[in-house]
Amino acid sequence: MTAEVKEQNLKTDEMIINMGPQHPATHGVLRLILTLDGEFVKHAEPVLGHLHRAQEWQGQNRTWFQYQALIDRVDYLSGMHTSWAMARAAEVLDECEVPERAEYLRVLVSEMNRISSHLLWLGTYLIDLGAMFGFPFYPFREREKLLDLFEEIAGQRMMFNYIRIGGVQRDPKPDWFRRLREFTREFPDRVDEYEAIVTENPIFLKRTKGVGVLPLKLGQDYGVTGPSLRASGTDYDLRRRKPYSIYPKLDFKVHWLDKPEGGDTWDRYILRVREMRESNEIIKQVLDMIPEGGEIMAKKQNAGLRVKAGEGFSAIESPRGILGCYIISNGSDKAVRIKWRNPSFCNLSILPALLVGHPIADVMAIFGSIDVILPDVDR
């Protein structure tokens, strides 16, 4: 309660507001039940499950070959990363050696996917803050170019089904690499364009500076990973800590901010912009290093696809955090249990703690900055 209200001895009451499953902040369907004291949030309860499509149940009831095609929908903005997480877990169980060119292609498409995911995040974040359909045309223009490249290599704009257990599915033509190189050449200028509009914008600064501070200890307690925690004083990036694929050979910088007392939403924003630039550099390096010719698939992709018996957990760094897959297999054509460890599920659990004390206008700013994808939360 503000000081004036206290002085006048007014009786106040709390109001319970439902930020219902359908709202224009296009992150999917999340229901927030907010208890407000005037304008300030006292308690927030997210109600999940409006998009629970039983994908773990499908893992038990679909064969390995069928399930690979379905998991792109788990995190639809980074379908390559999701396929890679499951492929990596299955390859570790199966002790299958992935060909080298396939590894290079995997890194290439997943860094492209990281850029396109952050671009969409940027566009929709500005829509959440109110820049409706003014700014988002810019990042979507770049996203369209990336989706055209994806369509050539994987056949689909969004649900790629490209990274399979044992390798990748298709080898692109040499022309594709040339066009990707052109994209990487003009992309830094585009990011400069976005930064010119957003980073020093006084409205944006007023809405995001000091809002939603995430202290490091709190984040570690809740198991937050990814850019949301790297803005708060840790450099935990799975590509450096537990390197997989060809990341040990690449020379790239992990962006993080040394603020253990907590990073606010502006810090999370600027970190993702820097990550986009860094992914661009990674793509340039991989394009120079990729070997000419070679195998791209180590396991035969048909209905007879099997994974050896065993259990294992394997994870990769997706644009939102650690995306992991815990597989229990008994050697038959279906898995016994596939459990997904989704970064959005864990990052969203911190939202009730972050929202307390903020006015209701900041709810969308904070929620957008955590970068949550609802099918990732609900599976």
């Binding site: 369907v29 499950g49 039983a54 639809y76 929709t124 979507f140």
Partner: protein, 227 residues
Amino acid sequence: MTASEDEKIMTEGGLSTSAFSLAVPEELRDTVTLTSVSAFTEFLSTYISPVANWARSRAVWPLTFGTSCCAIEMMHVGMSKYDISRFGSEVFRATPRQADLILTAGTITRKMAPALITLYEQLPEPKYVIAMGACTVTGGMFNDSYSVVQGVDRIIPVDVYLPGCPPRPEGILDALLKLQEKIRAENYASRAAGLYKQRAVRYVDYDTGLPMEDLVEEVKLEMQQDV
């Protein structure tokens, strides 16, 4: 007013049931005042209809209803490469009270179904539904899933079905154009009178989980027994 009552009034001597008039009681059926105004507007609507439909079909404003992956393609169709506003859908309204069209982009689960039914009921007439994506057409790849409604036409009536997973933005535009053709083929007065009330194809009552035909049968049996 159920459909059968509507039919009864329509067949009795061509009296109109346009929404511009109140329901006429039995005793006053042969008076001239109210019915002639509505008959005049009926006559006029044959001329107004083409113009009204021409205007209506080219300004269909969708609701921002994006549940899941198809929402991204819906965003792309609103952006500059595949621009939907050149086909009339200038803005996506956030509130159903100001929208004409629900483009159900994304899987509808059992938990979400009541919300969608509420949204559909909150849309003012004339309202349309395009079922976008395989999940809303028939349940899609979540065919045996325990929590997915197998096709949104079980809970709300659908005008245009758009398959794809996700459908390309050009596909969404194609569905929108088909919807516009459908709007132009309507009679505006009949639409206003509520004669185009569509039933959902496999209409299911959400609360009991029973098909609507069974429930309607039950109610009819009860009414017959009362009589």
